[in-house]
Amino acid sequence: MTQVLRCDHLWKAFGDLQAVADISFTIDRGETYGLLGPNGAGKTTSISMVAGLLPPDAGEVFVAGERMHPRATTAKAAVGLVPQEVAIYPDLSARENLRFFGRLYALPQKELDARIDAVLEVIGLTDRASDRAGEYSGGMKRRLNIGIGLLHEPELLILDEPTVGVDPQSRNAILESVESLATDGLAVLYTTHYMEEAERLCDRIAIVDKGRMAAEGTRRELVATIGEQDLVRLDVAGDAPQAAAAIRQLDDLGSVDVEDQAVVCLLDGAAQRLPRLLGAVAEIGVAVMGVEVREPDLEDVFLHLTGAALRD
């Protein structure tokens, strides 16, 4: 596989805040790589360094073999950035927006016209190409936002939370587009705080928290960090921390955490051990209102690694 992006030990601080601390990863051609973490985890700062918007305090970024920095032109030409905000001119049409940004990438006129038509087709805005972007729905604006990033046929596409504030239908359309782009051989760096998006799209995922990479791997590898354990969730009516303390008294349990009015446990052989758990909670007079037993997901991995829920 051809390596498109390499980040080596990136560090970035803003005053006293260490936004990114020693982040390293690579992305190959045709691979979708996810940065999964809550808001403020350092995802946007990381991609700002990858896109050449910010210089790292330490470490290096290479895109398509070229070192990326704020004055790099060759490396920047290989990157398509889709920022978290809808970065378009609302008073220009989709076609005018695409033409403007295409010219910033110095695309020759004929090629630009052809690419604009192709991109409009991909993002499904051919019929509305001459309408002002300010009149588009949120989903259409998001699609145009992505289209601008694709216009110059980059080797690496950076998508920073592209589905924030998008209706379910448009969200699904965006996710399908990203899947198809990766299939076409594009390297995609995808940041999100939606676990299900990362699970669906990403070949490999880095879990980022407080500027650091807590873990990295495929979904299967990340889930395996918890072990071959099952997840048991008990929704309780009484004192959840007290219930968690009672469960911790039992032997051979993995982790036991409190999440709102629920106790979340990781343990082997949940089906056999569930009666003992329920008994321990009943003994201290806490009522169990619901029970869920399932395989853990990335949300659980995040909770296991950081001690906090992904949405926090």
């Binding site: 050449g52 950035l81 809808v86 008073d91 940004f101 010219r103 910033l104 990438y105």
Partner: protein, 390 residues
């Protein structure tokens, strides 16, 4: 250069796309030029006051003035009241005929018609018409007297000699002009067309105001995230800043050139020496563009930028002589006005338009405007560069 032009052109396109801008950029400046022109001396509906005795020569003189100039004669009780009404602008000008005007005209005795006017072009026009009407009546009186005296006969040569002698010796009727208001000011505005004063002063007001008000576009650039997207492209920072600077200059130049062309076509405004005027307008546009860039880079949101922009635009215009001519401001204020580019630009245009000055004559003003442009451009580009990467 292509990328700089691409960015600059999009800035202008966005300004013109905003319909609310169209009124303030294209309609409002011309309305103000028209309003100021009408106030300063627009031609139509000129009322001339007259203090005159009730006799035939006086009536005939006033009729001649009325017909020749297309004015409306308004009778006024006395000279003091006439002077007051002219100075307050109620009447455009006035004439005062002596009580024995009729008798003196018939006798071809020396007579003085007093003319009262303000220091503007309308008064000058009325005065010319009054002088011509009076001369015509004097010639008629002289001819009548000549024929009356010589009706008994005599040869033609003697009559001719006599007529020439009479022309030299007889004082006849003369016009004594009196300008009410300030005599010095009258001189300052001499020779101006009705719209000449308003055109240049409004050009500076609106070029600066439009540039500052449109600086909100630079803030939107950051708010929309377009600035980051531009910086993520292979377009170097210097070209992005160059394009945004060129965009602001393009906006200022379009506003200025529109006012020049429209006022020439619609109001026949005289802009003086093209080279001198061109240099002054170009430099002032640069100053406006750089000031707009500084505001757009320094302010945090577009409401703040619009508020500060309009406030500074109006304030500088008022202080710098774009609302009231500098010549009418007290000396102290005129001194303070020099902190505004408007004052230098208006002063330069006063020299160019009123006194036919060339580029060499307005060199101090040109240098001052160049200084403003240089300082603001350096501050504006540095601040913009810093805020774009924020």
């Amino acid at each position: 250069m292509k990328r700089i032009w691409t960015i600059a052109r999009i800035e202008l396109t966005r300004l013109l796309r905003d319909r609310s801008n169209l009124f303030f950029v294209f309609v409002f400046p011309l309305l103000l030029v028209l309003l100021i022109g009408a106030q300063f001396g627009g031609g139509g509906g000129v009322e001339v006051g007259a203090v005159a005795p009730d006799d035939e020569p006086a009536e005939r003189l006033l009729e001649t003035i009325e017909d020749a100039g297309g004015f409306r004669i308004v009778e006024v009780e006395d000279a003091d009241r006439l002077r007051d009404e002219v100075s307050r602008g109620v009447l455009s000008a006035g004439v005062v005929l002596p009580d024995d005007y009729g008798a003196r005209v018939v006798e071809v005795a020396p007579t003085e018609v007093a003319f009262i006017g303000r220091p503007d072009s309308t008064a000058a026009s009325v005065r010319a018409v009054v002088s011509a009407a009076v001369a015509q009546q004097r010639q008629a009186g002289q001819a009548a007297a000549l024929v009356d005296d010589q009706l008994e006969g005599g040869d033609r040569a003697a009559l001719r000699t006599l007529a020439l002698d009479l022309q030299e010796e007889l004082d006849g009727v003369s016009v004594r002009a009196e300008t009410v208001g300030t005599d010095e000011i009258g001189e300052q505005f001499a020779g101006l067309g009705p719209f000449d004063l308003g055109a240049s002063s409004q050009l500076f007001l609106f070029t600066f105001l439009t540039s500052l008000a449109s600086s909100a576009a630079l803030i939107q650039l950051r708010q929309y995230g377009v600035a980051h997207r531009m910086l993520a492209s292979p377009t170097p920072m210097r070209q992005i800043v160059g394009g945004l600077t060129a965009g602001r200059l393009l906006i200022a130049l379009v506003q200025a050139l529109y006012i020049v062309v429209a006022t020439v076509v619609l109001f026949q405004v005289d802009w003086g020496d093209p080279l001198a005027t061109g240099v002054v307008i170009l430099l002032f546009s640069l100053v406006s563009a750089a000031a707009g860039m500084l505001i757009g880079a320094a302010m945090r949101n577009d409401n703040q930028a619009s508020g500060v922009g309009v406030g500074l635009g109006i304030g500088f215009a008022a202080l710098g002589g774009s609302m009231v001519p500098l010549e009418l401001l007290p000396d102290g204020i005129r001194l303070v006005a020099r902190i505004t580019p408007h004052a230098w630009a208006n002063e330069a245009m006063a020299e160019i338009v009123r006194r036919d000055a060339g580029l060499g004559d307005v060199l101090p003003q040109v240098l001052a405007l160049g200084g403003f442009a240089a300082v603001l451009l350096v501050l504006g580009t540095l601040t913009l560069q810093r805020t774009l990467t924020r």
